[in-house]
Symmetry: C3
Subunit: 154 residues, 3 copies
């Protein structure tokens, strides 16, 4: 019997934060039928953005990978809040990765891997996903990376 | 019995335009199974773009909110044309918001709220949706905001 | 009886390449239930990017249309690898088009048509799709266009 997602997170030393209610006019995660949609999620903590800046300018790839990983943990936190338990996830369907970057930046996949690897570590085979990663001009609150995701759920 | 979507639009003084056939090589809205997909939709009227410009440069947040609201009305117009009647909408699933903005712009969520609020006003609880909002370098026809959306439908 | 998708591709002189396994931490295409998701796909060949550059700067619209068409062929190649045969495609649902462009560029739909037309030529009525096209600041490997797609499948 494979380890539960909660066991995996424990092993990764990851404690999911309890999301605060969204201040804006949308919901952080919503399940409709057997699909869970998670809204644009940024590496933001209690006191505000945990990283700010632009790839190719003032944020390194390892920093952006850590930001992407942190945002992916928040994606799981929103999923858990919406589903009750992460064990309801059958498969990650799609990860959408927006990297704030200069026009010359070319390494978006490396940044996105920070999020993809967290999903694979936490969800195992159920974390395998399709993905796109693109370089945007700007992001809310000046963060270097924003993720959106969808999951097939029981 | 809650007011119908048509009643709500009437109360909001919103008359849905009748979309013209798409000139490009795609369809404005398409229903497959119980999902309706709406293509990238911009605040464009009979005579062309209703707003042009870039957030953080020559378009204010209130202007961009009005542009986003207008694009959201067009999303509903395309949904109605595809579905026959908006009463078939069960739930808005996802709103994708692309804001044309300078690299330093940080207030994409405020712009996106112009569209989100229209959906909530028009659709009530069925208008609750997940969303992402990002800052792109450029948009077709120079508009400041472009929306795409999907809906669960009967 | 309409021509098969393989017949159409033959008539278009298109031979689908055999995709190499993804080097990154995601899958190129994944079927879950009756939906096939295809990851961000770029015009990249055996030796690397087939086009590099930015619309409005150093890539012309015809060049970018060819790049978009080439990426769309690769989308079909990934779909075939995931499905076994393209005949399982019931409908193209959504085409997401990211165009690397200067802030002043306005002709994203023309670029996207390079991909849309290939899908319509290859898939016939099943290639009709919704779409968005936006102008991003940068793309992986410096390519001028990236596509993502989803399909309803049998």
């Amino acid at each position: 019997m494979p380890p539960s997602i909660e066991d995996r997170l424990l092993e990764l030393d990851i404690v999911l934060p309890t999301p605060k209610p969204s201040a804006a006019r949308y919901v952080a995660a919503q399940r409709v039928g057997d699909t869970l949609y998670v809204s644009g999620t940024m590496p933001i903590g209690e006191a505000g953005p945990l990283w700010k800046g632009t790839l190719g300018q003032d944020v390194s790839i390892p920093e952006a990978q850590a930001a992407a990983r942190t945002a992916a943990v928040l994606v799981l936190a929103h999923a858990k809040a919406a589903l009750g338990e992460l064990g309801r996830i059958r498969q990650c369907l799609r990860l959408e990765v927006f990297v704030r970057a200069t026009p010359a930046f070319e390494d978006h996949p490396q940044v996105a891997n920070g999020a993809s690897e967290l999903l694979l570590q936490a969800l195992g085979d159920k974390g395998a996903h399709t993905r796109f990663a693109v370089g945007v001009a700007s992001l809310p609150f000046g963060v270097p990376v924003e993720l959106a995701a969808s999951f097939a759920v029981d």
